[in-house]
């Protein structure tokens, strides 16, 4: 039977199933599930309500920041300042509330701080052509220093009149005993996924990561979008900072130290490509989950905590290895 041109054009090369099997995220999900099953059998302490509550809550801070980072990484950029921005926003919130202002003012101040920093990063990168690595490396140093200035390098643990509200916001469980940070993560992940897949903005982010020059030539507002993604990344860090403040009940100036590397690791494990053009919201969350499960399991299995870095590093390499293997096959 002769195949007409119309049939060829209408043909779908990938079914849903082949697409799922081809995605790095899918295999990471499998890895997380297998690890959880193994740990449930191998230890008595893994599958307890308390441990699962801890894991899910610990995942959230990295996951929320990773969601913001995903936008930046898809455009082919990087944001190294997230850990410091998280700390600065926590500190702004803490200091504002400590001074006697309500929780609304505190949160507004923290969010405003995040957006200003994001806009600053974005404008230097998009309009003045600074390399993202350098700008955000500088901001990593600046934001942490500002956090120290704001608090005079002390620990803040009294949050004024709305002290209890803040602790409930971060440490409570409003719905069905699910930790609040988990709820926030789910909501933010759904929003991120929606924006990336269904909006013009999301489409343009992928276009910039794929071929920035082409995006410019076809009339995509590249500069504005770049500023927006760095603002989103800083905003995610700010939100995580607010929640973490409520959960911890205290803010120190080393909060979020080194977090940028965990966050980047989570997005990469979840299938984002540092060269740009690839990444998903689900992947960022799953990547963060895998890192946390590894961390948690080492403790439960009685393995020395010093080995943590080896296992997490191994997971990063393994995740990217899968991707490389697929590419080799395709190129042959």
């Amino acid at each position: 039977m002769a195949v007409t041109l119309d049939q060829t054009i209408a043909q779908k090369q990938h079914t849903l199933l082949t697409r799922v099997f081809a995605s790095q995220t899918f295999w990471v999900v499998i890895a997380v599930i297998l690890a959880c099953l193994f740990l449930s059998v191998a230890t008595d302490s893994f599958a307890t309500t308390k441990n699962l509550y801890n894991i899910t809550r610990n995942v959230t801070f990295v996951a929320i920041v990773a969601l913001g980072m995903t936008f930046v990484i898809i455009t082919g950029g990087i944001d190294l300042s997230v850990g410091s921005v998280l700390c600065l926003c926590s500190m702004v919130l803490a200091v504002t509330m400590h001074a006697g202002y309500g929780i609304e003012i505190g949160i507004a101040a923290a969010i405003a701080t995040a957006l200003i920093i994001g806009a600053f990063n974005g404008i230097l990168i998009a309009y003045l052509g600074f390399p993202p690595f350098v700008v955000t490396l500088g901001m990593l140093s600046i934001a942490r220093s500002l956090a120290m200035v704001a608090s005079n390098n002390t620990v803040v643990f009294q949050f004024g009149p709305d002290h209890d509200k803040l602790l409930a916001l971060g440490g409570g469980a409003f719905v069905f005993g699910i930790a609040n940070p988990v709820l926030y993560t789910i909501v933010l992940a759904l929003i991120t996924g929606f924006v990336l897949r269904w909006t013009k903005f999301g489409r343009h982010i992928f276009a910039i990561g794929g071929n920035e020059h082409a995006a410019t030539l076809t009339g995509v507002p590249v500069r504005q979008i770049k500023v927006a993604v760095y603002m989103i990344s800083a905003l995610a860090a700010g939100i995580a900072g607010i929640i973490q403040t409520g959960w911890l009940g205290a803010v120190t100036t080393n909060l979020g130290n080194g977090m940028e590397l965990q966050v980047i690791a989570a997005t990469v494990i979840g299938g984002a490509n540092l060269a740009g053009g690839m990444g998903t919201a689900f992947g960022a969350v799953v990547g963060a989950a895998l890192i946390e499960v590894i961390r948690n399991s080492l403790g439960l299995l009685g393995i020395n905590a010093f080995w943590q870095g080896v296992f997490i590093g191994g997971a990063i390499l393994l995740a990217v290895l899968f991707d490389r293997l697929r590419n080799f096959r395709r190129n042959e």
């Binding site: 060829t8 054009i9 269904w198 013009k200 276009a207 990561g209 071929n211 082409a214 995006a215 395709r330």
Partner: protein, 246 residues
């Protein structure tokens, strides 16, 4: 009637005269080969039509009305589309996404508008069918052949009611079989009543597909004649300067 008419167009950058007193007119449904050596002024001329540069002197008319362009976007609004030499495609996106890049179709109301994947796949598929190209709208561009990539870039020009398509060296870096494919794409564009300006170094391609050839040398138009009344030898002579002017 001519779609685009240039009258005494000149462009200089400081002391350098890139384009010098060029007049030409382009008809609908006609393929015009624009030839010349490197530095002859082809790119500068095309960039003025595309809205990248403003002419220093002279006027452009489109459908009898004066055409003044400040930005490339304005050229597009007037129905002037460009296929860039590097095609300006995003490898990580599907063919349909590339066709609609920067002009995505959306559905919904007010601020709650989402991308209309179904409509974009459908329309992109229709355009590929018109171009007689075996290109699947759902495939990623990174998996495509050179000819298919050209089809995607050309399909982009057919979204709106393009009147003129400027093609910059479309056959420069692809295989022989794909060159034939691209020349066919150009013929299909012409059959839609679109004027095509083909900037090319490749003599066989121009003589294969073009109706007219314009030759530029040192910023001046040195020839403008039908393909039938010219020959590759004559054009070569005009490009190198062995033949002064015809």
């Amino acid at each position: 009637m001519s779609v685009l008419e240039l009258a005494n167009i000149s462009k200089h950058f400081g002391a350098i005269q890139a384009v010098n007193d060029v007049s030409l007119s382009i008809e609908a449904g006609q393929v015009v080969g624009l030839m010349g050596d490197n530095g002859a002024g082809k790119s500068t001329l095309v960039k003025m039509i595309a809205g990248n540069f403003r002419p220093s002197h002279g006027t452009m008319q489109m459908d009898g009305k004066e055409l003044i362009l400040h930005k490339p976007v304005e050229a597009r609004q007037h129905g002037i589309e460009i296929v860039h030499q590097d095609l300006a495609l995003c490898n990580n996106l599907t063919a349909a996404a590339n066709v609609y890049l920067g002009r995505e179709l959306r559905r919904g109301v007010g601020p709650f508008r989402i991308l209309d994947y179904a409509a974009m796949y459908k329309r992109a598929g229709q355009i590929f069918a018109v171009l007689k190209s075996e290109t699947r709208p759902r495939d990623l561009v990174k998996q495509m052949s050179g000819g298919q990539r050209q089809a995607v870039a050309i399909a982009r020009t057919m979204l709106s009611q393009a009147k003129i398509v400027l093609m910059d060296e479309p056959t420069a870096a692809i295989s022989v079989r794909q060159v034939a494919e691209v020349l066919n794409l150009i013929r299909h564009l012409r059959d839609q009543g679109i004027a095509v300006v083909l900037i090319s170094h490749r003599m066989p391609d121009v003589f294969d597909v073009a109706d007219r050839v314009i030759v530029m040398r040192r910023g001046r138009k040195v020839a403008d004649k039908t393909i039938a009344s010219s020959s590759p030898e004559e054009v070569t002579g005009l490009i190198t300067g062995a033949i002064e002017q015809v």
